[in-house]
Symmetry: C2
Subunit: 405 residues, 2 copies
Amino acid sequence: MNKIKGKMVIAQGGGPTVVINQSLVGAILEARKYDEITSIYGAKYGVRGIIEEKFLDLTDVDKNELEEVAQTPSSALCSTRDKPDEEYCQNIFKVLQAHNIRYFFYIGGNDSADTCRIINEYADEEDYEMVAIHIPKTIDNDLRVTDHCPGYGSAAKFISHAFAGVNMDNRSLPGVYIAVVMGRHAGFLTASSVLAKKYKEDGPHLIYLPERTFSQEKFIEDVNNVYNKHGRCMVAVSEGIVDAEGTPIVTKFSEEVERDSHGNVQLSGKGALGDLLSKKVKSKLTHIDRVRADTFGYLQRSFLGVVSEVDAAEARRVGEKAVQFACGEVKSGSVVIVRNDQYSVDYALTDLKNVAKVTKKMSDEFIKDANYVTKEFIEYALPLIGKIPVYKKLSAPLVEEKLSY
Amino acid sequence: MNKIKGKMVIAQGGGPTVVINQSLVGAILEARKYDEITSIYGAKYGVRGIIEEKFLDLTDVDKNELEEVAQTPSSALCSTRDKPDEEYCQNIFKVLQAHNIRYFFYIGGNDSADTCRIINEYADEEDYEMVAIHIPKTIDNDLRVTDHCPGYGSAAKFISHAFAGVNMDNRSLPGVYIAVVMGRHAGFLTASSVLAKKYKEDGPHLIYLPERTFSQEKFIEDVNNVYNKHGRCMVAVSEGIVDAEGTPIVTKFSEEVERDSHGNVQLSGKGALGDLLSKKVKSKLTHIDRVRADTFGYLQRSFLGVVSEVDAAEARRVGEKAVQFACGEVKSGSVVIVRNDQYSVDYALTDLKNVAKVTKKMSDEFIKDANYVTKEFIEYALPLIGKIPVYKKLSAPLVEEKLSY
């Protein structure tokens, strides 16, 4: 295990989170402790910035400034949706060689892990001594191996606090409330809608995840049942819900379907699914006066100040650990979080191929009856969102009526 | 000025806010100091609860419990959209008499002030000694006389922090981003989108308010200009924007138009306007890749934990002041906030007719060129949202290119 001397580059890919810069700053400050890392570069706009040689020299940026950047939502180096193919990776590799970059850190999801994997293979083939480390980040919590992903806890905090507040709003002006939550294939974010729920009769009363087939008939029946029981009904629904054929429900009602460079249908940044579901409820359950739908949108991954303190600390640590693994073990891989009992975590390095490409969905033990989550899910996710503010319903004795209208 | 001895009732009307229970608890705890108030009742579901005699006896509810209720979003007593007519007010009055209620406090907007006004008139006509006090509350900030409304500061905090975060997201994955903000006739909430903006080139770049005619052609031209200059464009648009005839833009594109009991078109709780505007941009400005629209929805008035500390304190004080005015001056009226220099405020009582019915819009000095706000608006609104978290862009020297692809 020889030390490798050279520059390092770090980049951020895919959808940003509110704690992604904690990982960035953790890696930068940790790297300053190692003599073998001669300069610290940041690539602008993810891997695209490497190809275009848009590097910022972060070697000497003031620590206090970096600490403010760490608290800032969304990729400070900017991001990209580019998903590198073989040729793209070859170009990345050429630039790394040209700059004598020996350490490549990529903060991102499964695609970013795959990019690390391919580049690492080129380096092996060409006998170019380098280390490629994937630093996990996704609000969707859909990476394999790691117990959970940095970024998820804060997004789950946003969603759970949104639901806790809107629940009180819906209680005070009753009706049906539907909220569409991010998450294309994995339901972890939508499931997090329950995490700040305090009273048994509170919403969300129904949770629809992409892991289960969504039936519109069953949905209407569920809403009707809850409404008849509680006089109101709150629904959390994933933007990625699909029918029995696996077709996203949203595409069945949009005139035009927009796709991204990965061929994925655009789900976020529009209110169509919420509007559709609320229209269904209005037309089928005509005895219900008030039906409203919100789509939480980009606030879920970027809201200034709504940060889980647990998530922020862990995001920082995976950045630091990435550098420690790179310099200590001189080995490529993906940093993973390992959960201990009583909620504490350790960090480990796993092979890039274990995290690359394929994503993780919610396991069956977390899903209840296709329209709710289990206690096991709540036990799993609750420690990740940090402290929940105090809130309370007013309770007092009823006064006797004098007139009885 | 004789003291009036009897019970008091307090109710909450209209759309809830995150600090409305501060006013409730402020009034309850203050009322306990006055011997002339013999019992403290809370009416459930606003004035509807008075008619139906659904009173909670709050006289002896534990103070610590009340303090937790004060921190809870949305009307703890629940709310109503009922807008009382003469007959309705007569029924309210009968119930007040039957229970020997001599103090009526209604936390709400201009309609609630009007209810206080009518009931106060009945009492005068019938020589029934009572005091009716309106405690101001609206996220829209659209009440007359008062400098600003409790509830506005926290909603403005939500909107400004949402924009500050999404701005960083949009910077890292550039495109056009449109957010639809609450506010039927008054643009104060939409205008607040600028309040946590830090850098000159940051969004929102365009702000469309209901106080100005919205032209789709001008909108497309504005977006194009900003996009060409900054490579991205962020737009804040009020749900209440109207065309030259005063027709809400959203009704021009919805198949069905839902109206509430006041005859108002349903604006919130759907994503139609955002989707429409984003479709317009996509079809007219085809060189722009990425166009996204969010509708902030009910989170703006209910999000757990996003509270302006200034707003919370003032909401508490207007509740306390209401009781002080009622018992001290023995006079009906609406509590108003009066701004001093260097941001501090005092409280006063104004005639109910000055606040009832008619609402306030943004004044011309706050609006710039029909698509932005002035410095004067920022100076007016900035003190109301409380402390803004630190955030910072990363800046570092660019590295020289080696390959120049």
